[in-house]
Amino acid sequence: MAATIHCDIVSAEKEIFSGRITMMSATGTIGELGILPGHAPLLTGIKPGPVRLTMEDGEEEVFFASGGYLEVQPGVVTILADTAARAEDLDEAAAIEAQESAERAIQDQAADFDFSLAASQLANAMAQQRTLEELKKRRGR
């Protein structure tokens, strides 16, 4: 049997996932990360995007995390997400809508416009869509 590592994904609202996995991949602040059992202790920020877990039985699950922190300890990976969801729960229409409104906000900048806020909203919406596309591809296979 393949080596496994315990994985916890929690968001401020609730616990999203807890169980043993054989591999995780996520988007770190400086690039894609792949975590396998036996990884060195690591502490990093994560960007909005899909988090892919490979279960013990080879099954893959996709989650969405909108930023947060990732910690690797011997035997345990923890994702402290700002908000996280199972990818199936994401609403594609809402994600596209959010992206469009964020883009609009960036284009016509009003006086009291908060660029960093809009930019982070845009990044978030785009990441949600990326996650959904990935999920679709996987289903299509």
Partner: protein, 286 residues
């Protein structure tokens, strides 16, 4: 019958009070369920981030952040989480008693104390007792958002970063079960290393991108989440304590009504007996 009027009135007013307390008991019971759910949902995050912070405090980073250094204690800060409303038994008083005792210990060591208060009751208490209040946050409501709490927390956080206070504690009620709430004082800053034998060898994380930035962000989030969780948990404690307090108030009212009815019946009986005695006495005289 004039004799029992006052007692009758009294019984009526006690009955009215009982109606109110039993209604409040039911309201508290239904709110308790909601606040408990909220507390349970928030717990995993608060626990996990505490673990991560515990690991971090045990690590030997090349960069020691202010949050990890223990300084000589000259001034400390408390974030006190209390309820906004009363009628919840000894919940707040027990908390304040624990806190005042702890404060007295620090005072004995010539340490100044700053207070950051959340909830009306703490604000009221420390206004009358006295104490150096640096921040007060009232009317948080039942479902607070992290953003609402940040203001009060930030004052304390900045004070720590600037070196005005050397330790930061959070004081709140821990929800054990519906019957029991326990006041606890926990240290937030500097980070308290998790006591675990397996972490005693020298090790450090790989940090991506940079240790300082990362630790700072994580610690801010840690403090925020701990305060948020404390407020949520205190909310659940409040409703549970309120339910119990109102339940015993309703029972006391019941007992009072029983006693008063007994007195009323006695008085009525005495009046009747006396009247009969008078009639009999009158008839005998004729």
């Amino acid at each position: 019958m004039a004799v029992g009027m006052e007692i009758k009135k009294k019984i009526g007013s006690v009955e009215n009070t009982q109606k109110i307390t039993s209604a409040m008991q039911m309201v508290a019971a239904s709110r308790m369920r909601r606040t408990q759910d909220r507390m349970r949902e928030g717990r995993p995050y608060a626990e996990k981030i505490r673990q991560v912070i515990g690991h971090l405090a045990n690590a030997n980073p090349e960069y020691r952040h202010t949050f990890m250094k223990t300084r000589d204690v000259k001034r400390i800060g408390y974030i006190v989480v209390s309820t906004d409303r009363g009628l919840c038994g000894g919940l707040n008083i027990n908390l304040f008693r624990t806190l005042v005792k702890d404060m007295a210990e620090w005072h004995a060591r010539n340490v100044e104390v700053d207070l950051g208060l959340i909830g009306n009751k703490a604000a009221g208490f420390f206004r009358s007792v006295g104490g150096n209040i640096v921040a007060a946050l009232t009317n948080v409501g039942e479902a607070p958002v992290v953003a609402d709490l940040i203001g009060g927390v930030k004052v304390m956080f900045d004070a720590y970063e600037e070196g005005k206070i050397d330790r930061l504690f959070i004081v709140s009620n821990e929800f054990v079960n519906t019957m029991t709430q326990k006041p606890v004082i926990r240290q937030l800053l500097p980070l308290d290393p998790e006591q675990d034998e397996s972490y005693h060898h020298r090790w450090d994380y790989i940090y991506e991108p940079e240790a300082q930035q990362l630790i700072e962000g994580l610690v801010i989030r840690f403090v925020e989440s701990q305060v948020y969780q404390a407020v949520i948990e205190n909310g659940a404690c409040e409703q549970a304590a309120k339910m119990i307090a109102m339940k015993s108030a309703t029972e006391n009212a019941e007992k009072l009504i029983d006693e008063l009815s007994l007195i009323y019946n006695n008085a009525r009986q005495a009046a009747i007996t006396q009247e009969i005695a008078e009639i009999v006495g009158g008839a005998a005289a004729v």
